[in-house]
Amino acid sequence: MASVSLKNIHKSFGKIEVIKDVSLEIESGEFVVFVGPSGCGKSTLLRLICGLEEITSGVLEIGNENVTSLSPRQRGIAMVFQSYALYPHMTVYKNMAFGLKTAGEDKSKIDQKIRDAAKVLQLDQLLNRRPAELSGGQRQRVAIGRAIVREPRVFLFDEPLSNLDASLRIQMRIEISRLHESLDCTTIYVTHDQVEAMTLADKIVVLSEGKVEQVGTPMSLYNEPANLFVAKFIGAPAMNLIQAHTKAPLEDNEPRYINAEISGKSVRLPCLSYNYKDNQNLTVGIRPEHINILGEDQKTQILEEDLQLPVVIDLVERLGDVSYLYIHMEDGTPVVVTVSGQSKLNIDKKINLHIPATKIHLFNESGERIM
């Protein structure tokens, strides 16, 4: 168990800079998830921490010790690969023993460690099988077992669940979570699946094009996305984004409000700073579950600054417990609304949306959060 600290890490392949100045503090025992779209550099960052790729510039510390130029073994790291990377010609037992044998540990000790790990991972019955004779989930567990027996200071996982089917993925997710509870080992986990990130992480690091967009707990990312990228990326269905632009401030303009126009309608939007000019672009974000439908829900209280938008329903998806309404506004902007239960609304119906001002996220021209 050890803390990990990245200081201004850069990585280039030839002329292409893949990791751009990443700095990050990971505390001892923390479960950190790197999440981001495919190709954003998650695997590269993980391989840098692991020692499989050379760091172009920057400093990597593990347990307050500079490990920038050390090998994976010296860093005390174990990694679980996306394809599991089990040695195909070795039995499960030998797969788990390989790293320990390489380190020259004695046989009885190795045996004890493997039996212990096998018990935890329910691999006892499979120790003499070869990887080809195992199911996807079992291979996954062997890969994890191979990492555990090494007793690493830091565990690395690179999209470990992406080769499993949906139900197995949920099961393994729970197992990994439980394993982390019991081992209490610093874990860095890479995924492009934001649900995995939200459910597993103590701390999420959102990456985009080799840069850190935001670091925070799952709920802080959900509730207060720092920028448009994070707002779009976290949450399913994704946050609705509606274009707006500012209008000249009035003489008696109250602080903390912006005058703006959304598809031709004047509105007053709450905001952190009120230094703004005329005709600046804004993006209004609102999560699908925060939108109410007027006339459907009797309890909605409409406040003065709340938004009301007339819309038309394009499509209704009923999943039983919730329904998704796919809607377009008068100017064509698509909006998704989540309503609980089985909605009775139908296609082409005209309705009025109610967007509570307190639930609005507001982003300025450069995509940064201003509310």
Binding site: L52, S71, S83, L86, Y87, P88, F98, G99, R146
Partner: protein, 306 residues
């Protein structure tokens, strides 16, 4: 209870061309050769059946068997040199060339494969020139590094001629096993070596413990292909040493022995029936080796799903 699969007639129609071509050009010549080895031809050209008498002569009559066993023995040496030199070298080069860090790997690969594309006649000629004690360049080249005292007319001396030719053959064909092994190595996912590296294994240990076991089937294949190639070899020796495979038959292998037997050489007349007997023996030697390989080796070597 029996199940009669109904094979529609057109299946046979489609099979006919292939079967016909294979029979005419492959199976029949082989069978004809085997049959011919059971006959004897007298001076008038008439043939009569003699059973296994030709084999008896070839294997046990001193006049024939000395030459045959000499050729067989030389052929074995020829094969062993290939196994000890060609295949380890190609394994080594393949391992180096498949290294992700190596720049210009493709160039090396192409250069090493290049001699394989040359005609054997040219290779034989070039090496004869290079090694020629009178006007060859090798003595001068060795002189540059102070080794000219060790130079000798290797191709012309009984103890070294066969080894020299075998090494020339290795030089020419090292590219083929190299390609096979290289392809097999490329087939091993990078993540496997990455995983082993994270497990603390050195590159050498990764090679011996992870990569080598995974390419064993290919090494088996390379061995048997080498065997088949070597026991059918003829052209390089013929182009360097001619049909007499000198000096004093020290480079004679089954191919050249067969050539002299079948077509005759200088004053001695060729004998089609004895030639067929030698050819049949070559066929049996290769057949037995391939069978041993398939039944004993290949079945034990598992191909792993990577």
């Amino acid at each position: 209870m029996s199940w009669h699969p109904k094979i529609p007639l057109h299946v046979f129609v489609f099979l006919v061309p292939g079967v016909l071509i294979y029979t005419i050009f492959s199976a029949w010549p082989l069978i004809d050769t085997l049959l011919l080895s059971l006959y004897e031809q007298d001076d008038s050209g008439a043939r009569h059946f003699v059973g296994l008498a030709n084999y008896n002569i070839l294997l046990f009559d001193n006049e024939w068997s000395n030459g045959f066993w000499n050729a067989m023995w030389n052929n074995l040496k020829f094969f062993v040199i290939h196994m000890l030199v060609q295949n380890p070298i190609s394994l080594l080069i393949a391992a180096l060339v498949s290294n992700r860090m190596l720049k210009g790997a493709n160039t090396y690969r192409t250069l090493i494969f290049f001699p394989t594309l040359l005609s054997v006649v040219i290779v034989g000629f070039i090496w004869q020139l290079i090694l020629n004690p009178l006007w060859g360049v090798s003595e001068t080249l060795l002189g540059y590094i102070g080794l000219d005292d060790y130079f000798d007319a290797w191709l012309g001396m009984e103890p070294t001629a066969l080894i020299t030719i075998a090494l020339i053959s290795v030089w020419q064909f090292v590219g083929i096993p190299l390609m096979l092994i290289y392809t097999a190595l490329l087939g091993i996912p990078d993540e496997l070596s990455d995983a082993a590296y994270v497990d603390g294994a050195s590159p050498r240990r990764i090679f011996w413990k992870i990569k080598l076991p995974l390419i064993l089937p290919t090494l088996g294949l390379v061995s048997i292909l080498t065997f088949i190639g070597n026991f059918n070899a003829f052209d390089l020796i013929y182009s360097i040493k001619g049909g007499l495979a000198g000096p004093n038959f020290s480079t004679d292998i089954l191919g050249t022995f067969f050539y002299r037997t079948f077509f005759g050489f200088q004053s001695s007349l060729g004998s089609p029936t004895m030639g067929a007997t030698v050819a049949a023996m070559m066929f049996f030697v290769i057949l037995v080796a391939v069978m041993i390989y398939f039944y004993l080796v290949q079945r034990k070597l598992q191909r792993y799903q990577l």
